[in-house]
């Protein structure tokens, strides 16, 4: 790589080709026609596009990391290029009072026009004192910022459903954004972390159509969370036929068989992971040999654990899967055949040995 290329690689700016590529990827993820791509591009390049305020509460910054540190920097750069990020504690240059001034200024200037992104759960116990920024509780900040935005995007399972903070016994009384924000649309980009494409698609949808994408009952966009992992999984055939990894590292695991018996929660989880995948290289947990942990679902820390035990109540075709079932039935059928033939042979030999008179005069032998 020449010095010139290296400089390009480090640039935050996105060239037009990458920009259009990114918009096309997001259009594909949302299931939009390619005819819509120019509209997305126009909306995303518009000078009047809404600014974004990114609030961090009880979180690990993993969702931000996922956006910024994709193996190939395109998506991260694209997001930074498309959205005008006015306030984001992790990546902004300003700090302290300066940062808070920017926040207030954006809220006042763009009232009803900016997008509010929330990362992290919001503690509500004891008046929310367990998470404070600039002397204000997370509850106060959210109550101040969210109603003034055009829409709230809750990114990550903490912001959507409380995440690990909300796991039993939930000592800080953590909740998701939807439990607190009423009257402003809240779009849940669930996942731990969620796929950056799902976030990008939602942002582009807001920019292009001025309204949130269609969502399921839990507020998650249908284009990304409309289908079960299990129904799109590359290992699904092994489930139907009854070929499973019984434990990690066994022959079935090496053969790439279904991970349901080692705890995959795909049959109970809605997300686009098998279709969209991660890190621009087509990888995702099940592809790597690890079951889904159900991270896009509410209270997954409580309902999807233990992670390595099978999810109960999942119907398998014919109990064990069809090929495994047919194999065991086949062995029994062939066993019965062998027994029938054996009895026939034994009776024949027995008759010869005994030489019984009645048999010799039977019509069978007269012919």
């Amino acid at each position: 790589m020449s010095r010139h290329d290296f400089g390009k690689e480090c640039s935050v700016k996105v060239n037009r080709r990458t920009f259009i590529k990114g918009c096309t990827m997001a259009a594909a993820a949302m299931g939009l026609s390619e005819a819509m791509v120019p509209k997305l591009v126009e909306a995303a390049a518009s000078d009047q596009r809404p600014p974004v305020i990114w609030l961090h509460f009880q979180e690990c910054t993993g969702c931000t990391e996922t956006l910024l540190r994709a193996s190939h920097p395109d998506i991260g750069r694209l997001i930074l290029d498309i959205i005008s990020l006015d306030y984001h504690e992790t990546v902004m240059a300003a700090a302290g009072h300066q940062a808070e001034e920017v926040l207030q200024e954006t809220i006042n200037k763009y009232q009803g026009k900016f997008i509010c992104v929330v990362e992290g759960g919001i503690p509500t116990k004891d008046d929310g004192i367990y998470c404070k920024i600039a002397g204000r509780t997370a509850m106060d900040i959210l109550a101040d910022v969210a109603p003034k935005s055009m829409a709230v995007i809750a990114i990550g399972t903490c912001a959507t459903f409380g995440g690990i903070q909300a796991a039993d016994p939930n000592p800080t009384g953590a909740v998701g954004v939807r439990d607190l924000v009423k009257g402003t649309p809240v779009i849940n980009i669930s996942g731990c972390p969620p796929n950056p494409i799902s976030f990008l698609g939602t942002v582009l949808h807001l920019l292009t159509f001025g309204k949130p994408p269609r969502t399921d009952a839990l507020g998650r966009p249908l284009f990304a969370y409309g289908r079960k992992i299990h129904d799109q999984c590359e290992r699904r055939a092994h489930f139907d036929e009854g070929r499973f990894a019984e434990q990690f590292g066994d022959e079935g695991h090496k053969q790439g068989y279904c991970l349901y018996k080692v705890g995959c929660k795909g049959p109970g989880t809605f997300a686009n992971c098998p279709a969209v995948r991660f890190n621009d290289v087509g990888s995702w947990p099940v592809g790597q040999g690890h079951g889904c942990i159900g991270c896009t679902e509410p209270q997954f820390w409580d309902t999807m654990t233990p992670f390595y035990e099978r999810l109960p109540g999942v119907d398998m075709p014919w109990g064990d899967g069809i090929v495994t079932g047919a194999n065991s039935a086949g062995i029994k059928i062939l066993g019965v055949t062998a027994a029938a033939v054996g009895i026939h042979a034994a009776v024949g030999i027995g008759k010869k040995i005994i030489g019984c008179g009645r048999c010799n005069t039977s019509s069978e032998d007269q012919e």
Binding site: K228, D315, A329, G330, H344, E364
Partner: protein, 215 residues
């Protein structure tokens, strides 16, 4: 007319016949569904497995079919006189003459019926062809059921070709069995009406009635 009772078919042969017949019916019905899964749905996320279920039933019926073939293979050599293959193949002068005579009878060139306790030779030839067809069908079936097994791959590639060729042959031979079943049932009824030997009931109780006036 006097009739003599003759024991023709052993219990094992009758079991073979009915497990073979029933498995073919099930295999054809489920096989057509696998060929063209006509029940369609837009419902997602529900646990119903129509294709998997049909395939499962198909595989089970395939094992019954296999068991039946193996039992018949044994009886071809170790069965009673009527069940052994040299009794109904044109390998003796008597059998060759029976073959031509049966052909004439079926073509209405003659009215004379020459009774046999076992199969007539024309039928026997068809049964052996059916048996060979069944072996090919079984090989093609297992070739597709265990596509990754080295053993089935070896036999399948040698006799049938690629998976797709095996699949094609499996489909064509199904039609052989459908045509065979129709012809078989027609000729059995025809014979039962024409010759009054209790032919149809013999496959339930094993006994045939041969006129003692007619050697």
């Amino acid at each position: 007319m006097r009739y003599e009772q003759h024991y023709a078919w052993s219990i094992l042969l009758r079991l073979f016949h009915w497990s073979f017949a029933l498995s073919i019916v099930v295999l054809v019905v489920t096989g057509f569904y696998i060929h063209f899964p006509w029940t369609n749905t837009l419902i997602e996320g529900e646990t119903s497995f129509p294709v998997a279920t049909m395939r499962y039933i198909h595989f089970i019926a395939g094992f019954v079919f296999t068991g039946a073939i193996l039992a018949r293979l044994y009886l071809l050599v170790f069965g009673n006189k009527q069940e052994r293959f040299w009794d109904f193949l044109p390998v003796t002068p008597r059998n060759i003459s029976n073959m031509f005579h049966t052909a004439k009878l079926y073509l209405y060139f003659t009215e004379e019926h020459r009774p046999r306790i076992g199969h007539n030779v024309l039928a026997g030839i068809i049964y052996i062809i059916t048996f060979i067809m069944a072996l090919i069908q079984m090989l093609a079936g297992f070739y597709m059921l265990y596509p990754e097994s080295a053993a089935w791959q070896k036999w399948g590639l040698f006799f049938l070709g690629s998976q797709q060729q095996g699949r094609h042959l499996h489909f064509l031979i199904m039609w052989y069995f459908i045509i065979f079943a129709v012809a078989h049932i027609y000729i059995v009824i025809w014979n039962d009406i024409k010759t009054r030997e209790g032919l149809i009931s013999s496959i339930f109780n094993g006994t045939k009635y041969i006129s003692s006036d007619n050697p």
